[in-house]
Symmetry: D2
Subunit: 253 residues, 4 copies
C-alpha cells in the first residue's frame, strides 16, 4: 500500500507570511504551490519550489480565483472560458518556474472555493480539466472521489489522483461534511492520524452516521495553517510507515 | 539582408482595450506579449497567442514591472533578485500558455521602464539575463545595441537579437534621444519607413548631429499605440520587401 | 415634472481609457463615480470630480466588487460585513476627494453585479444601506423601484432616489427584462428618447407584454460605453426639456 | 512636557496578519492607519479604527505607494501629481471610514519609502502637503525635523507634528543613521526607553559621534513588527510617565 501526503504551500505574499512551509515540507510528498492569484508571489513561488526540491517533494500547481484579498475562498461567477484561461496561466507560471529549477510539474490541484465549486459544477470541472490537458496530458489532476472533476479529467484522458482529507468528517454519500455543521473538522491530532491510517488500510472511511464508505485514495491532504501542523504531518507520516504504508509522491509510482 | 519587425501585444486588461493587435499582427513577425504585470490578463494572453499563431507571428514574453496602474512605465527600486524572479514568472506564464497553443517561445523583451533601466543598470540587466537563462538558454533575448543587456546576455551564453527603433532619433553615441528632447520621436510615417529601410541597408543610422552611427540590427520595433500604426506596419513591411530585405521572425533563421 | 439623468463615470484606469466622460458630462446631471475597485484610480477619480464640478453635475459614489479584471460584473460571494466595509470605503474615498474639490457627495449607486444582486438579496441591500447610513444619512441612495435596496434604505431612514433605465425593456412585474433575453436592451436612440420621455410623462412604462407598469422615477440611467452615447444623452435631455420636464440633479430639489 | 506615541496600524490584508495592533493599542496615543495601497483592506481599516476608538487612540491616515507586494518599501518614480492624488485618496478613505465610526482624522503620516523619499524630495513633500491641505487644513502632518515635509507643510499653513524615532541612531546633522550602517537600529528595549525619555527631557539626542543634536519632538514613533513590541510600548509609556512627561495624542493639546 502506498499514499501521497499533499499540502498547500507558497501562499505567503511579499511582507506577509502565512502557513508553515518549512515545517511541513519535511513530512509531505507533494506540494500544491500557489501561483499569485489567491496567494503567493514570484519570489515566494520560486523559493517554495527550491524548498520542495531540497526535500524531494513533488511540485504541483495550485490555481485559485483571482481574489487575493479573499484568499480565493469566495465564490466568483466566472465563465468557463475565464476559468480555463486563468487556471492554464497559473499552471504555466508554476511549471515554468519549476522548470527553471530543474523540477517537472507533477500535478494540478484547484484551490479553495474553486476546488469546492468544481466538485459539483461540471462546467468549472471541465474548464480545469481542459486547462491541464492543454498544458500537458501527462500532468496528474488531483480530484475528490466521485466529483465532477474526476469525470471531466477522465473524459479528456487525464491521469487522476484521488484525494481524501485527514481532518474532515464524511457524509454517508462520500461527500465532506459541510464546514457549517458541527464536527466537520477533526482537531485532535491523534484521531486525525488514526483515522487516516485506517482510511488507507480499509480503503474507506466511517461516515458521521457510522456507515462505512468505500473510498480509494492516492493522496491525502493536510492543512498547514493550524498550529502544530508540522508535528501532525510528521505523526501522520510515521503512522503510515508504522503500518507498512509507503509514503511516496503519487507521480513517483 | 533580413529583418524582424516586433511590436508589443496583448496589453488589454479585462474590459479595458489598448493597442491595435489585430491590425499590427498582419505585418509584424514577432509579438512581445504582456504577462499580466504591467498589462494583459490570462484570457487576453491566450487570445493574443492564438492571434499570433494564426498570422505566423513568433511569440515572445514581454515582462514588466508589477505596476498595472502605471503600465510598467514608472521606475521601481526592485532588488536584482525580485527582478529575476518576476521576469522568470512572466516568461513562464507566456511560454506555458504558448505551449498549450502549440507555440514555442521565441524571445524575451523587457517592457517599458524595466527595458529603459536595463540599458545602463548592470544589476537589472544581469537579473533579466539570468531569468532567461534559467528558463531556457535557447530563447532569444532582445537587447539594445551596446546596452548592459547585451553584455549580461552574452556573459551567460544567451543568443541576442539586436533591436533598433524605427520612430526614434539617435544620439551620435548610438543611444536614443531622450523623449524629453524635441525631435526624439519621428511622427511622419513616410520618414519612419524611409529611415528604417536605410538603417538596414546601410547598417547604421544618421544621428541628430548628422554623423553616421554603425548599428547592427536583427529586429526593428514598432509602437502600436498610435493611430494608423497598422498602416505604418504594412508600409514598413512593404518598404523592406521592395528593397530586397527579407522580413522574417528572427528566430526563424 | 423633474428628472435627473445619471451615468457611470471615472472608470478609466491608468493608461486604460473607457467610457465617454467628457461627452456625457455635458448632458447628465448626476455622475456615478468609480472608486478604484471595479474601475477608476486616484487620479482619474479626482479629474472626474473636477469635470463634474465644471459642468455643474452632482457627484455620487459608485462602489463595486473588488474585481478590476472583471470590471465588477461577476458575482462574488462576499459576506454582508465585507460588502458593508468595502462599500463604506469606496463612499469615503469618493466623498473625501470630492470634499477636497469643494463638492459635497450627493448620492451612492452600487455598480454592476453588486447593483444587480442587491435587487433581490436582502443581506447585500442592507449592507449597502448600512454603509451609506454610517457615512452620512443625508446622502441619497439610488435604488431600483420595489427592490430590496429601497426597503433596506427606508428601514434605515435614508432618502431614496428611484431609478429607471432608458434603454432597457421591462417585465410586467416592473423588473428589467434579463439581458439574456432578446429585446432586453433598446438600441434605437430615437426610441430610447421617446420611451424615456413617456415614462416620465405617464409615470410608468409599457412592459414587453403591452401592459402598463406604474413606475415613479427620480433619476434615469444612461450607459456611456456605447458609441454615440454623448449624442443620445444630449437628445434625451432636449427631449425632456421640450416636454416641460425640468432636468436637474435629484439632490438639488 | 508632553509626548505623543505613534505606531503603524491596520496593515493586515485579508487572510494575512501582520503587526501587533491589539497589543500596541494599549500604550500608544496615535495610530497611523494603512489605507489599502501598501497594506490594509476595507475591513481591516474599519476594525482598526474601532480598536483605536475603544482605546482612546487618535486616528491618522498612513498613505503609501501603490505597491502591496512591496509593502510600500520600494521607491517608485511617481509624478508629483500622481503622488498628490493617491495620498489624497488614501486620506479620504481613512477619514471617511473614521467619520462613519464617529472619529475625526487627527493626522497624516506617509508610509515607508514614500516617507523616506519625502525627507529630501521637495516635489514629493509638496505633493503630500497639498493633499493634506486640499482635504482639510486642520489635519496635522507628521514630519521629520528639518525635512522637506516640514517646509512644504508650513508653506501651505499646515500644522506640523515633529517626529522622533525611539529605536534609531542619529547622525550629527540630525538625520537618521542609514539602515545600511551598523548600529542604525537600537534593539535593546531598556536602551530604547532610556534614550527616548532622555530625548524628551533634554530636547535632543546624542548622535553616533557623541555630539548633542537639539531636536524638538511632538511625537515618537514605535515599530510594531518586532516581537515584544507591545511590552516595549508599555515600558516606553511608563518611562515617560515616571519622569513627569504627559503621554497624550498630539491633537489633544
Amino acid at each position: 500500500m502506498r499514499i501521497d501526503i499533499n499540502a498547500d504551500m507558497g501562499e505567503s505574499f511579499g511582507a506577509y507570511k502565512i502557513g508553515n512551509d518549512a515545517g511541513l515540507m519535511k513530512s509531505i510528498t507533494s506540494a500544491n504551490i500557489a501561483a499569485g492569484f489567491h496567494g503567493g508571489d514570484p519570489s515566494v513561488l520560486r523559493e517554495t519550489i527550491r524548498l520542495a526540491r531540497a526535500h524531494g517533494v513533488a511540485v504541483g500547481a495550485h490555481p485559485g480565483f483571482p481574489d487575493l484579498v479573499g484568499f480565493g475562498r469566495r465564490a466568483m461567477n466566472v465563465t468557463a472560458k475565464e476559468c480555463e484561461d486563468f487556471v492554464l496561466y497559473q499552471i504555466a507560471a508554476v511549471a515554468g518556474v519549476a522548470r527553471a529549477e530543474g523540477v517537472a510539474l507533477q500535478h494540478v490541484k484547484a484551490h479553495g472555493e474553486l476546488f469546492n465549486m468544481a466538485f459539483t459544477n461540471a462546467d468549472l470541472a471541465a474548464a480545469i480539466a481542459r486547462a491541464v490537458a492543454a498544458f500537458d496530458k501527462s500532468v496528474l489532476l488531483f480530484a475528490f472521489p466521485n466529483s465532477e472533476v474526476v469525470k471531466a479529467g477522465r473524459a479528456l484522458g487525464l491521469r487522476i489522483a484521488l484525494e481524501i482529507f485527514a481532518d474532515r468528517a464524511y457524509e454517508p454519500d462520500g461527500q465532506l461534511v459541510s464546514r457549517r455543521k458541527p464536527g466537520a473538522v477533526i482537531h485532535d491530532p491523534e484521531l486525525v492520524v488514526a483515522r487516516a491510517v485506517k482510511m488507507i488500510a480499509e480503503r474507506g472511511v466511517v461516515a458521521v452516521d457510522g456507515t462505512f464508505v468505500p473510498l480509494e485514495a492516492d493522496t491525502i491532504c493536510l492543512h498547514g495553517d493550524t498550529p502544530g501542523s508540522d508535528q501532525l504531518a510528521a505523526k501522520l507520516r510515521s503512522g503510515f510507515e508504522a503500518t507498512g504504508v509507503t509514503v511516496q509522491a503519487v507521480g513517483a509510482r
